[in-house]
Subunit: 594 residues, 2 copies
Amino acid sequence: MPGARDCGRSCRCPEVRRRLPVLRWLPRYSLAWLQLDLMAGLVVGLTVVPQALAYAEVAGLPPQYGLYSSFMGCFVYCFLGTAKDVTLGPTAIMSLLVSSYTFHEPVYAVLLTFLSGCIQLAMGLLHLGVLLDFISCPVIKGFTSAASITISFNQVKNILGLQGIPRQFFLQVYETLRRIRETRAGDAVLGLSCLAALAGLRAMKSHLPRAASADPLAARVSYMIVWTTATARNALVVLFAGLVAYSFQVMGSQPLTLTGSVPQGLPPFRLPRFSLAAPNGTIPFETMVEDMGVGLAMVPLMGLLETVVIAKAFASQNNYRIDPNQELLAMGFANILGSFVSSYPITGSFGRTAVNAQSGVCTPAGGLVTGALVLLSLAYLTSLFYYIPKAALAAVIISAVVPMFDAGIFRTLWRVKRLDLVPLCVTFLLCFWEVQYGILAGMLVSGILLLYSIARPSIKVSEGDVLLVQPGSSLHFPAIRCLQDIICSHALAAPSPPRSIILDCCHISSIDYTVVVGLAELLQDLHNHGLSLIFCSLQDPVLQVLLSADLEGFQHFSRREEAEQAGAVALGGGRAAPFTSSSQSSVLPTGFIQ
Amino acid sequence: MPGARDCGRSCRCPEVRRRLPVLRWLPRYSLAWLQLDLMAGLVVGLTVVPQALAYAEVAGLPPQYGLYSSFMGCFVYCFLGTAKDVTLGPTAIMSLLVSSYTFHEPVYAVLLTFLSGCIQLAMGLLHLGVLLDFISCPVIKGFTSAASITISFNQVKNILGLQGIPRQFFLQVYETLRRIRETRAGDAVLGLSCLAALAGLRAMKSHLPRAASADPLAARVSYMIVWTTATARNALVVLFAGLVAYSFQVMGSQPLTLTGSVPQGLPPFRLPRFSLAAPNGTIPFETMVEDMGVGLAMVPLMGLLETVVIAKAFASQNNYRIDPNQELLAMGFANILGSFVSSYPITGSFGRTAVNAQSGVCTPAGGLVTGALVLLSLAYLTSLFYYIPKAALAAVIISAVVPMFDAGIFRTLWRVKRLDLVPLCVTFLLCFWEVQYGILAGMLVSGILLLYSIARPSIKVSEGDVLLVQPGSSLHFPAIRCLQDIICSHALAAPSPPRSIILDCCHISSIDYTVVVGLAELLQDLHNHGLSLIFCSLQDPVLQVLLSADLEGFQHFSRREEAEQAGAVALGGGRAAPFTSSSQSSVLPTGFIQ
C-alpha cells in the first residue's frame, strides 16, 4: 500500500481517513493495480478454499465452516486494514485453539468468534496497539524463519501424496520420512514440476532487465508477456495443474490427489446464538462463557499476535508501516461481522499472506476478489475446485514461504549485537514446538533483556580528587539499588580521608519516587560516613522533582566544574559538607565559604 | 542489624560471610543487644503461639501443625537472614493458599513445604533476586499501609471478644459493625487498657530525654527503669494480662476470652513422605505433584514476595539493606528443613515482624528465643499459654502495625511525582481485597508505567536551518517506532526545500538490533524523500554497533557543530547528501566538498 509510506501525511488527514484506510488508496487506484490485485486475489482464493476445508477439520467443525470463515475477513480488511499483504481467515494455529475450547459444536465456535471480536475491538479502542512495539525484530525474524520451515514441511506430505500425517512438526518429520516409500508418483511429479516452474518464473522475474523506452515495440510486448507470466505464476501453475488433473479424469485414470467435493450453499446472515439447545435442556449464555473459560483470553490474544506479527513482518519486508491500533480494530470488526455468517475465529494467515505478497498484490482490494471467489465457490463453483491437485497448491505455498527464511540474520546479529541472538534463537527453536509459545517466549526473553538493561544501567565511575559517578542513561526504579551499591562500594573502599562524591546527572531525563527515596537514603548513608554527595548537570524536570522532595543535605550545581570545585573545598576543609539544603545553584553554599 | 549498613564492607569479605550473614554480627554481639533480643524474641514467641494455632485451622490442618511450622524458620533465619526484623513462620495468606492445595491432608502440606523450599533455593542460587528490584517504593508503601489497616482490623474482633468473624476484609468490617452489640465487656476493657498502656509507654519512650552523663546516679537509674519498661512494653502487657486472667480463673469467674489449651509434644525429625497411603491404594509422588498443580508455583512465589516485600519495608524503615538473593536462600532452607519437622509452608509474617521491630530487636538472634519458646511450649509450657487473653495479644499486634500506616505518602507523591500515585493507589486498594493481588497488580502497574516511559521516551526536537532531534535517554527497541514517527512527521511536514536532519545521540549509551533496523529504515525513508540524516555525538559502543551494521547512507560526526555545518552544506547544495557511507568522523565526506 504505497500511501502508508507517507508517514507525514496522516497527520494532516482527518480522523476518518485514519479509521478507514481504504480512503487513502482508493482515490489513487489504477488499472495496473487492479490487474495485480485481481491476480493475487484469485491465487489466494484458490489457496484458501482447500485450506479452509482442511482447517475446519482441525477445528473439529463441519467442512463448510472453513469456507464460512474465509470471506468476511477479506471484505472487512479491505476497508479497515493498513497492510496490503495481510489476508484474514482460518489458520492452523487458530483452528487448533478453537478445537480446544468449542467441543466440536459450531454454536460455541460462532459465539467465541463474536466475543473474541468484541475483546479485540475494545483493545483497539483503548489504544493497546502500543503493546505491539514490544515485539522486537529478532522475535519477528525468528518467527518468520521458523514458520517458513514448518509451513513448507507441512506441505511436503501433499507433494508426496501421503495421508494421515500428524500436525506436530517433529512427529510430522518423523512420519513423513518413515513413510517416504508410500510416495504417490503422480503427486510427486506434479508437485516437483510445479515447484520448479514457480522457482523458474520467480528467478526470471527478478532477472528481468528494465524495459528501456528506446526499445522497439516488439521487445516491449515480449517484456510485458514475460512479466505478466512471472507475476501470475501462482494462478497459472494452479490452473495448469487443474487442467492436467481434469484430463486424467476424462481419460478415466487419476494418479493425483485432488481437493475433492465441497458442500454448496451460502451461510445465513444472523446474530450468533447466545444459548444452545442441548438434549438435557438449554445451555444459557453464562454457562457457555464459563465452558470456554481461558479460551476467551487465548483466542483473541493469539489472533492479534499472529496478525500483527505477520503484518509487521511483511510491512518491514515490503517497506511500509502499519498502524497497530487500526489492525486491532480491523481484526475485531472482522470477527464480529464474521460471527454473523457462522465464521469461527479468524486471524492473519502467514502462508496466504506470503502468497498474496508474492503475487504482487498492491492494495487490500485483492481481498475482495478472494472473498468473492469463496462466496462464488460456496454458491456455484465447488465442482470446479474439485479438480485442483493438492500437490500444486502445496507447491504454491512452499514457493511463497521459502523466501521468508532469513539465514543471514544469525550472521548479522553475531556481528552487530550478539545479545539479540538469544531472543532470536529462543523464538526460532520454540516455534518448531508451538508457534504461539515461540513468539511468547521470544517476547518474554527480549522483555527480560530490556528490563535487565534498565535494572543494571551502565554507570561510569572515575576516581580522582573527587569520585565522579555518571549514569549512562535515565534512572528508573529498578536501577537505584545498583547505583547505591556502586557509589557505596567505591566511596567506602577508598583510602582513609573522606572524599566528596559528584553525581553527574547529564544523561538523566526523568526520575521516579523510588529513585528519589533511594537518593535520600544514599545521602543519609554517605553523611553517616562523613562523605558528601554533590549533584551536577541536572536537567530541569529532574531538578524540580528533587527540589520538591526536599532532600536533606541536597546540594547541586549546574556545571560539573563547579561541583568539583565545591567537592575539593569540602575535601580541603577536612570534613564533610554541612547537612543543609542548598537550592541556589551556581553559588557555593555558605557552609563551604566559612 | 548494624553490620548491614556498611555497604562497602561486604566486598572485602569472603563469600562465606555473604552466605552466612550471622558471621557479620556475631563477633560484635554485646550484652545490650542480648537483652533486647531476648525481650523481642519472648514477645514474638508469645504472639506466634496463639497465631500458629489459629492459622493451622485456616490451612485446614490439625492445630499442632501451626506450632510445628513456627520454630524452624526462626532458627534458619538467624543464621542465613539479612534483615534483623523479619520473622518467618505461618501467616494468614500462606495458610489460605495452603488450604487450597493440600486437601486438609498434612502429608500434602509437608511435601508442598519441601518442594516450595527447593524452588526457592533454586531461585536464590540462580540469582533471581534481581526480580525484587522491580518492586517499587509506591508498591511497598501501598502494601504496608493497607496491611496495617487490615491486620489491625482483623484484631478488633479479639478486642471486642467476637467469635466467628469472616476473614475477608469487607465482610469482616460489615460483620464486626453488625455484631458490635455482642461485645464482651471483659475483653473490651482489657483490650482497650492494653492498647492505652502500650500507646502511653511508646510515647514515653520517644519523648524520653537523653541521659546526660553529668546527671546524678538516681536520675540515671530511674532513666534506665523507664527505658526498660517502655522497650519491654509488649511482654509486660501480655504478662500482666495473663496474670489478670489467672486471677479471674482462680476466683472462679472468667470474663475474658483466653488462648485455651494446646496439644503437647515435639514433632519427629524425618524426611517428608513422598507418597500417601490412602484407603484405595497408595498415591504416588507424581499424582501428588499433579494434584497440587499450580500451587507449586503460587506458594513459593507468594512466599518469596511476602518475605522480601516485608524485609524491604522494614529495611527501609530501619535504615539497613537486605541482600535479596540471600533472602531467597534463607527462605528455601527454612522451608526444606521445616518440612523435616512437619511444617507447612512458611514465609515472613508482617504482624510479628512489626512486633519484633517495635520490641527493639537488634539481630536475628531474637528468632532463637522465639523458636526455643515454641519448642518449650510444645514440650512443656502449653498450660501457661492457656491463660493469655486474646484481647491482650490483639492489642500488641495493633500497636505494632498501626505506625506502619503512612498517610503522608499520598501528599508526598502528589508533590514529588504524581504518576507514582497510580501504583500506590492500585496496591493500597486491592490489598483490601487480597494482599497478593494488591502487590501483583501494583508491580504490574509500575512495570507498565516503566515500559511505557521506555516505549515513549522524551525526544527534544528543535527546528532551524537543520532539524535537530535529541532523544533524552537510551533507545530501546520499543521506542524506535516513536522516534521514526517523530522524525518523519517533523521532516515531511516542513516547508518545501529539503533539509538535513541531525540526530544528536549524546544521551544514548546503548542500542539493540531492532533500533539499528529502525534507523536503517529511517535512513532509507528519508533518502527516498531527498533528505539526509546525520548522526552526531555518538558514544563509542553505539558507534561500534552502527558501523558493524554497515548502514547505507550512514554519516556521523563527533561534534554537533560539525554535523550542523555538514547539514548546512547539503542544504546549500540544494540536494540531499549522496547515499554513501562515511565512517571517517570529523572529516566532511567527499560528496559534500565536490
